[in-house]
Point group: C2
């Protein structure tokens, strides 16, 4: 095991009760028992800007291992000489996560992969009528026979093997179930469903996974693209329907606008079963790996990113701010401190409420009444129609109002301030 | 009507068949008959960075009207003097979209709103046990009586009125249904469900909306926050369950990491019923309003944004690129040209395939064989292990290989190039 292994810093397995869990859980649901196959080093490498050096891949792999993901999936060794070498290097790091590589359903690719020392192969083949016609042009019998040959070979070498179709949601259902049944029968480790084009929606996902769950006894892995905004919700619906493994990438990077993001999935699962997620994964490490990857692929972490986006824990509306200050869980399903983040309640704007201002008065330990807070709030709202005030502006206003009050001139003080810029000029 | 009204440029109502629609549609589903309540000027104003001037609000309102959204929702006139003025100004623009303002369930707020000239009021009150205890502390009887008083008053003035609960998914189901039934009975225009904290998931949304659909006969509006990544999927599930109106904002801006984004919802609905979406909305205008809003709130459009993110239509993997070049619909559920965007197939990297390179040969009109394309592809993969090649690099390599071939020296030419930087040095 590597020195930076997540297990050494794992939290104690304390029971954490989540108020958001279903009252009567579905017996098929795996929302409290799922695994993550982290594919930043495979799907993520298909992102437009991704050109990882071996050193960068090692850095990302270690950072993902620190989060505690169950598997790392790497680009096929058949893609290039560096890809083959990277499989060898990352397999030999001694990470806690199991190492997979993603290959076409070919004997040549399988042999090349096995020689790199990975723990398993994620084998993929296209099955939809679209792909059969336009991509590799093979029929289902050919596909099934090829799959059996490759799977049998990989198993004979003692490795894990997953068999996935591509574009599963536009494939013929009977074709799909037939091939999954055939590979399950010969002992495949997992079957995979992939929404390659990002067309699937959650209720459709739930139905397909539920159906598949009754056909195979092996594990079920799901891979969702995010073109139409359902990648996280589809992953959740798949787990509800009995899927066991979800593919993710850091910030969701991948082909086009990408797949289920690691951070977003962990936010969703935390809301569903905080105890399972917090005992298994180190959520405070999400930001680190996102920063590494964002820098490596030269993108900015989106302002609205799950958990780590700069506004994820910012509260602005007056009515919200009041409730948040009384009890954060009123408007917060994610506890910022569980993710190594902090909460920020914004008060220098025209939607602010006096409760938020009063809270700031208490934080600053000023001796002001509720009526004082209301007076200052009314002034903030007027001034913020000109421009938003910084927290510094608000603090200066409160302190100087407090000072003026000790001299009995607080009403005159407020009346004299006509623009935000005058706040720092007055006393 | 304003000069920039979307209706003047509306497309002809031609039938467009989508291959992604359900084979046997649910009779309760409104995926082919929904309306958008665009809340950038209300929910969006609660985004951390949003401080819109009146002029900016007018610009955003006109740009949203050009997209063809059904309603614009504005911040309550009770929030500040500017907010009240903005309601008046935007109501008098003569836009095709109806103008709403979002107010607390108070007579004072309702009176203030009606005087601004808006077409309707979106009235909201908290109902969850969390909010009842920590926010306004009212019980259900009080809430119901208050709601009836305010709704009756607004109706008496001839305006639309929606009544929404807040934090609906953590409210008591019987309380919720009771109050919705009561306000439906007195003729409310719409009832609203709000996932204020972003905790809801799609199957739960579907169940609640379906249940509500059997209790009320008025329209049903839904509002979803995106803390756990389900805002688009929840909107879709709500429409499947019988909801009629979805709240959106541009880029999803709002409290914390925001709500269902306008562009993302349109991508989802386009995948579900292209004909309905394309006949009703001008999808090529999404980018314009996103640029206006991104600039106004000082954020960058996320790299992975739906439709307009810079990688939304970029294809990289070799196997994908081959199929895309044969038939774009294999890997593209969204036609870039329908959104005023263009497709880009990336070829200068180590995952490239010879089919993509061959396609470029044809685009450049070079006289090279399949074997030539394979030779150059192998060289690209080797060179890209050093650094990714630009399209210019690839083009130079192809052109110079072609030139060398006319002199019979193409194999020697390739062998001599050892680093990407040598591409431009060789001939």
């Amino acid at each position: 095991m590597a020195a930076n292994n997540a297990s050494e810093n794992a939290r104690p397995k304390e029971p954490i009760v989540s108020p958001y869990m279903p009252k009567y859980p579905d017996p098929m649901s795996n929302i409290s028992n799922f695994k993550i196959i982290e594919s930043t080093l495979r799907e993520g490498e298909q992102f437009a800007n991704a050109f990882f050096t071996t050193e960068k891949k090692v850095e990302i792999a270690k950072a993902l291992d620190a989060v505690g993901v169950d598997y790392l999936e790497l680009t096929s060794p058949a893609a290039s000489e560096q890809s083959r070498n990277d499989c060898k290097v990352i397999s030999s790091l001694g990470l806690k996560a199991k190492i997979l590589t993603h290959t076409r359903c070919h004997m040549d690719d399988a042999k090349l992969a096995i020689d790199t020392g990975v723990d398993g192969l994620d084998v993929v083949i296209g099955t939809s009528s679209y792909l059969r016609e336009f991509s590799h042009g093979k029929d289902m019998d050919y596909i099934t026979n090829k799959a059996i040959e490759v799977i049998t070979y990989i198993k004979s070498k003692g490795l894990e093997v997953r068999f996935s179709t591509e574009d599963s949601f536009r494939s013929d259902l009977v074709d799909l179930l037939s091939i999954y049944k055939a590979v399950d029968k010969i002992g495949v480790t997992r079957v995979g469903i992939a929404d390659t084009v990002g067309c699937a929606n959650p209720r459709q996902v739930y139905e397909l996974v539920r159906t598949l769950r009754s056909v195979v006894s092996c594990d079920i892995e799901c891979h969702f693209h995010n073109d139409t905004g359902c990648a996280i919700a589809n992953a959740y619906a798949a787990l509800e329907g009995g899927a066991t493994h979800i593919d993710t990438s850091v910030l969701g990077i991948g082909e086009r606008n990408g797949i289920t993001p690691l951070g977003g999935l962990l936010a969703r699962m935390y809301a569903a079963d905080k105890s399972y997620v917090m005992n298994k994964y180190d959520l405070t490490k999400i930001r680190d790996v996102e920063n590494i990857v964002a820098s490596a692929v030269d993108v900015t972490v989106p302002f609205n990113n799950y958990i780590t986006g700069y506004c994820a824990f910012t509260h602005k509306a007056g009515i919200h701010a009041k409730a948040i200050l009384n009890n954060p869980s009123t408007y917060e399903i994610l506890k910022p401190e569980d993710f190594g983040m902090t909460r920020y309640v914004s008060i220098g704007h025209r939607l602010t409420g006096w409760n938020a201002v009063k809270n700031r008065v208490e934080q600053l330990d000023l001796d002001l009444t509720d009526q004082d807070a209301k007076n200052v709030t009314a002034k903030i709202k007027t001034l913020a129609d000109v421009r938003p005030l910084s927290l510094d502006d608000v603090d200066t206003l409160l302190r100087n109002y407090h000072h003026a009050k000790t001299q009995g001139s607080h009403n005159k003080f407020l009346a004299n301030i006509e623009t935000p810029d005058m706040i720092t000029d007055m006393a």
